[in-house]
């Protein structure tokens, strides 16, 4: 099924995509409201939560260019030294921009 990108069509597409996104925002919480939270479940969701970050970052580093790698490396090192997110992010962006300018 296809939708033509007339003005009404685009509005329909935006509405559908917004609805799909809403389902993802609500769905996890909705399902959890039927789950009994015991320590094991709590341990699962806590470990899963910190794993989400890694699962986003690792393929980003592997698939990315040298600039992406430099950004993540600079952010990681700054974060380990200073333990402050904003300088770490700034260093990451500077590193990416520098590497991409040089290469």
């Amino acid at each position: 099924m296809t939708i033509e990108t007339t003005s009404a069509g685009v509005l329909a597409l935006i509405a559908i995509m917004a609805l799909v996104t809403l389902v993802t925002r609500f769905g996890g919480v909705f399902v959890m409201s039927f789950v009994r939270i015991n320590p094991r479940v709590e341990s699962f969701i806590n470990t899963m939560a910190s794993s989400v970050l890694i699962a986003i970052i690792v393929p980003m580093a592997v698939a990315g260019d040298l600039g992406a790698l430099a950004a993540l490396a600079a952010t990681g090192m700054t974060m380990l030294v200073l333990k402050k997110p904003l300088p770490a992010i700034a260093m990451g962006l500077v590193a990416a921009a520098l590497v991409r300018y040089v290469i």
């Binding site: 799909v20 806590n46 794993s51 989400v52 952010t75 997110p85």
Partner: protein, 236 residues
Amino acid sequence: MSANLYPYQFESRKVRAEFFRLLPISLFVVAFGTAFGLAASQEGLSPFQSILMSAAMFAGASQFAAVDMWGAEVSLLPLMAVVFAINSRHLLMGASLYPMLRDVSPGRRYALLLLLTDANWAVSAQEYQSGRRNLEVIIGGGLVLWMAWILGTSVGVFFGGLLQNPKAFGLDMVLGCFLLSMALGGNKSPRVLVAWLVAGAGSLAAWKWLPPNSHVVVGALAGGVVGLFWADRSDK
């Protein structure tokens, strides 16, 4: 008494504080939104349509993927599948907040989830790991991020030419660097490190061999399984 059923107390002062706390990162989001506005107008979306999409979806990566599929006609099911797959991480993010959200009345709970996105979730989840309950950042932080995303999109559709190549400034790495800094700022028990290894390996394997955009959910669930069998008693 409903107050006993849903004991989470929102502090409006804290909501405001979280708004300003995420203001700096929101400046980067403006730049990222500018890139989206530019991409959307290059695909033929009108300024109104682009801005409406950002306001209604508030999900950057999936919006970029969606306008990538734009043409005279758009196939509905593939579009929905891509949007769902990229945003499916919200399912896990929302679920991870449930221990706090169950103390909030359903109306407020789902209203708050409208503003759930990577950056404010990362702050909330990280603080929860260290024993602090912070749903205010979802509201205050989400609001500033949402406004920044709309503002950026508006700048992009009208003045997109100013930022032809956001990658040259490293702006495509804003989210990655932010999430990495959140991960490294959290607690790093041996259990968490093992979970990270499993999650990293799982997401890489999914990225290589499973359908596109499934890697975040697969990796995160794989990491979660570590916690399922290795419950850390010293946690909190």
